[in-house]
């Protein structure tokens, strides 16, 4: 309860702080929309007439904005310039501050991205009418998947950002992770369209469960939804344990820099 209150305060503070960077935030949002929109353009041309593709990529665009994570900037940079020591002195777990920043950024990404989402939706003229009941079920089933994906993507980026304790190249490590998430997460291509030989790999690895899985449900692929939730929970467990372990091990190495 106490932690939740601290988290709420942190979100509010970070929200206001981000608001001071509105102009920059807009460019960040546009940057986040590029991969899903490129996917939409490419796949609309590759599979003309498919009704699932526009819905899938619209959903992916929304998921991308809702799960955006910048821990390599918000955490690793603080470690490099020594300001992490300020966070360590506060009477709250360090991760609460990071979570607050993360959630505030996601709220603002969705808010700022809303016009883009609406415009793209209008241009691609997605028609929900013929599939309406199925669509509503899909959206309802996608909600838990998005929440789990949001947790998973935060844990993943946080774990990569923690590499800053051991290496100066946390940004490179995070970039590597993002490339993998782009390729195997359903952004480059929806996992169901992967060639038969690598599809099981895409379904096993965690990346699909950070991005593509909720979008697949929302666009009407309702098979094996429960199994997908299961994968999400398992991967969250794995990454949470890894992050806790890495945090403890890293903290023992940490020496505050500067003065």
């Amino acid at each position: 309860m106490h932690l939740l209150r601290l988290l709420a305060v942190s979100i509010k503070r970070q929200f206001l702080e981000w608001m001071g960077w509105r102009a920059f935030l807009i460019t960040l949002v546009v940057n986040q929309t590029v991969a899903p929109l490129l996917g939409l353009a490419v796949w609309s041309v590759a599979l003309p007439g498919s009704t699932q593709i526009p819905t899938y990529y619209m959903a992916l665009l929304i998921v991308q904005l809702m799960t955006v994570s910048y821990e390599q900037h918000t955490f690793s940079n603080g470690l490099y310039d020594g300001t992490l020591s300020h966070e360590l002195l506060k009477p709250q777990p360090v991760v609460i501050g990071l979570l607050g920043t993360n959630i505030a950024a996601r709220l603002l990404h969705v808010l700022i991205g809303l016009p883009i989402i609406l415009i793209v939706g209008a241009i691609t003229s997605i028609s929900f009418a013929p599939v309406a009941p199925r669509f509503i079920v899909g959206v309802l089933l996608a909600i838990p998947a998005v929440l789990l994906a949001a947790i998973l993507r935060f844990l993943f980026m946080y774990l990569l950002a923690l590499s800053a304790f051991w290496t100066e190249r946390a940004h490179g490590v995070a970039g590597f992770g993002e490339t993998l998430a782009f390729l195997l997460g359903g952004s480059a291509a929806p996992i169901p369209l992967f060639p038969q030989s690598i599809r099981p790999l895409g379904e096993l690895l965690p990346f699909r469960y950070m991005l593509g899985f909720p979008a697949e449900i929302a666009s009407g692929s309702l098979n094996e939804v429960l199994q997908g939730y299961g994968y999400q929970v398992c991967w969250i467990g794995v990454f949470a344990l890894a992050a806790i372990f890495a945090w403890r091990a890293g903290l023992r190495r940490f020496m505050a820099v500067g003065g």
């Binding site: 102009a23 460019t27 590029v34 353009a41 041309v45 590759a46 599979l47 490179g172 993998l180 480059a188």
Partner: protein, 260 residues
């Protein structure tokens, strides 16, 4: 001539500095290779579902992607290291150091340092072009190769010009940071412009010069040289240089330096 010598000196200094950190070097090469492999894999997956993408076959699209990587590599080697976060140089007055040098400021501001590791991307891109051509199964003509070289050069000049124009914006609107936006739109060059719908395609060809960095050079290599384009290309490039020069000078007249 003097500028060329200076450019050579800047390059060799930067190269020495980067080679000092071997682990960093290997790590960067790995990162670049992963990014390029991800690009190829994406194309590969798309072409398992279709044989043509906007009128381009797999081999042709690979050639185009390779061309895109070549120009991207040049951008990240020579231009980005200078112009990323250029706005802050204008805001905090660090631009003074450039203006005081006995070399044209536009040269030092845009090409004053470089990151030679980016050339790895150029090399990998060139390999990709060759793989694409092999896949197409057609030996390009001599004029086709010449056309590709000329149009890649024009693409680089236009890239430099557009990046400079964006940086010069800092003189008028120092609070606007569009670096991330530029990099985002740049990614549109990965695919032929023919896949985009009409208003966007027009914008990517004539307003944001994304078509110049990949689609136009690659189509020269594949379909042979288009005489009209090979004449107009350099003219557009020269025009871009003149525009940048005059905008830069106008911007400098507004630059007031910062206190202290």
């Amino acid at each position: 001539m003097k500028l060329l010598r200076l450019f050579g000196a800047i390059f060799s200094l930067s190269l020495k500095r980067e080679l000092t950190f071997r682990a960093e070097f290997i790590f960067q090469v790995l990162l670049t290779a992963t990014a390029i492999i991800a690009g190829i894999a994406t194309l590969g997956i798309v072409y398992t579902q279709t044989t043509m993408l906007g009128g381009w076959s797999l081999g042709e699209a690979t050639t185009l992607l390779g061309t895109f990587q070549v120009v991207s590599g040049i951008l990240s080697t020579f231009i980005e290291p200078n112009l990323t976060w250029f706005t802050s140089q204008v805001k905090n007055g660090k631009l003074d150091a450039i203006l005081l040098q006995p070399v044209p400021s536009i040269f030092l501001a845009s090409l004053g340092s470089c990151a030679p590791l980016g050339l790895g991307e150029v090399a990998l891109g060139a390999i990709l072009v060759l793989i694409g051509l092999y896949e197409v199964g057609k030996v390009p003509t001599a004029t086709g190769i010449l056309g590709w070289l000329v149009m890649v050069a024009v693409g680089i000049v236009i890239t430099w010009a557009s990046r400079m124009l964006l940086a010069s914006l800092a003189f008028w609107a120092p609070s606007v940071e569009l670096d991330v936006l530029y990099q985002a739109l740049w990614q549109c060059g990965r695919y032929p412009v023919s896949i985009y719908r009409q208003p966007i395609r027009f914008a990517l060809t004539y307003m944001l010069p994304v078509a110049f960095i990949s689609t136009i050079p690659a189509s020269m290599l594949i379909h042979g040289t288009d005489l009209l384009q090979i004449v107009t290309g350099p003219i557009v490039g020269a025009g871009a240089i003149i525009v940048v020069q005059s905008v830069w000078n106008a911007g400098l007249r507004r630059y007031t330096s910062a206190t202290s």
